[in-house]
């Protein structure tokens, strides 16, 4: 119950600014959502004559009380859909929103499956290590430190030690 209440409060908290932005858009907000058709940057990054003219029209429309989506729709009718910085959430343009997410999820799944597969292979065929290396009978002696020493090396070591003692 508490969880549901928290979710509802969070949804309301997020929805309130979105509604305010839709009904009372600001110039700064629209400047970052609308492209300058000449310089191919958003309006807030452009100082071209075309950008200035579009900004002036947006300012007039905001003063006239038009909504954000209404202003954007008017601009699309005048300049085409490329005037918007982000593609609309409908029709074919939905692909631009969902394709990266699908690619990310798909890539994650493939990577996860590959990691799972490799870990299974390693469990089945463990790599040889000093602890499980089988040495020839009699080799390595009984002490822990000598385990895994090459018999030829051990023989040479014994010879050197014998020569040193002599």
């Amino acid at each position: 119950m508490r969880l549901l209440l928290a979710a509802a409060v969070l949804a309301l908290a997020l929805a309130a600014p979105a509604t305010a932005s839709e009904s009372h858009p600001t110039l700064a907000e629209l400047e970052s959502r609308v492209m300058c058709p000449v310089c191919k940057t958003t309006l807030d990054q452009s100082n071209s004559a075309a950008a200035q003219r579009i900004e002036a029209v947006i300012r007039q429309k905001i003063a006239a009380g038009e909504t954000r989506s209404g202003i954007e729709q008017d601009l699309v009718e005048q300049f085409g859909p490329a005037i918007l910085a982000a593609p609309p959430h409908r029709g074919f343009d939905l692909l631009a929103w969902w394709l990266p997410i699908a690619a990310l999820v798909g890539g994650g799944l493939v990577l996860g499956a590959a990691v799972w597969h490799w870990s299974r292979v390693r469990e089945r065929d463990p790599e040889p290590s000093p602890s499980n290396t089988v040495l020839p009978e009699g080799a390595g002696g009984g002490t822990d430190g000598a385990a895994g020493i090459d018999p030829e090396l051990e023989r040479r070591l014994d010879e050197e030690l014998a020569r040193f003692d002599a």
Partner: protein, 181 residues
């Protein structure tokens, strides 16, 4: 099973890379830069046809409807200062060369229709003006900004191009070239 999965994944990856490569080749082959860049190589280029909404009036402005006549095709926008400067020159050329069958066609681009109508009224433009909000006509001609002017001869070939504002001399030279063919 694991081997089959590995092979399928490899085949899919190769197919994906091949597909992207084919897309790249297609894109490079089809973006010739439009009429403007082909014309720079020195040969007349067939003028890409178009049919645009007529500014301030019903009907269309269609290049095909001027077949057999030289056409001066001018891309402009109302917010463009050089466009305003050349507007009267274009209108004067239209009136001067009209008896020879020459027609001037304006194409308003990247503009508000209300602004464009005011621009046409303010500069006393009487030649046909079309309006485009898509980039297809503009891309086919290789227009990079406004103003730009193309000269189409009687055979429907672009014979000259002036990027930037046109002068009286530019217009006379271009029209003479279009009439010569």
């Amino acid at each position: 099973m694991a081997r089959a999965l590995k092979l399928s994944a490899q085949a899919l990856s190769v197919a994906l890379v091949a597909g992207l490569l084919a897309l790249l080749v297609w894109k490079v082959a089809h973006q010739g830069g439009g009429v403007a860049s082909k014309l720079r190589r020195g040969h007349p280029v067939p003028a890409p046809g178009f049919s645009l909404s007529r500014l301030g009036q019903d009907g269309k402005v269609t290049l095909g409807s001027y077949e057999g006549r030289p056409v001066v095709l001018n891309f402009f926008a109302s917010w463009c200062v050089p466009c305003a400067k050349e507007a009267r020159t274009l209108q004067a050329a239209y009136q001067r060369w009209r008896p020879e069958g020459v027609v001037v066609v304006g194409v308003d681009w990247q503009d508000f229709s209300g602004d464009a109508k005011r621009f046409v009224r303010k500069h006393g433009i009487t030649y046909p003006v079309g309006r485009t909000s898509s980039g297809s006509v503009v891309n086919s001609y290789g227009v990079t900004g406004v103003p730009e002017t193309f000269f189409v001869d009687r055979r429907g070939r672009v014979v000259a191009h002036v990027p930037g504002p046109v002068t009286n001399d530019d217009l006379s030279a271009g029209i003479r070239e279009a009439l010569a063919e």
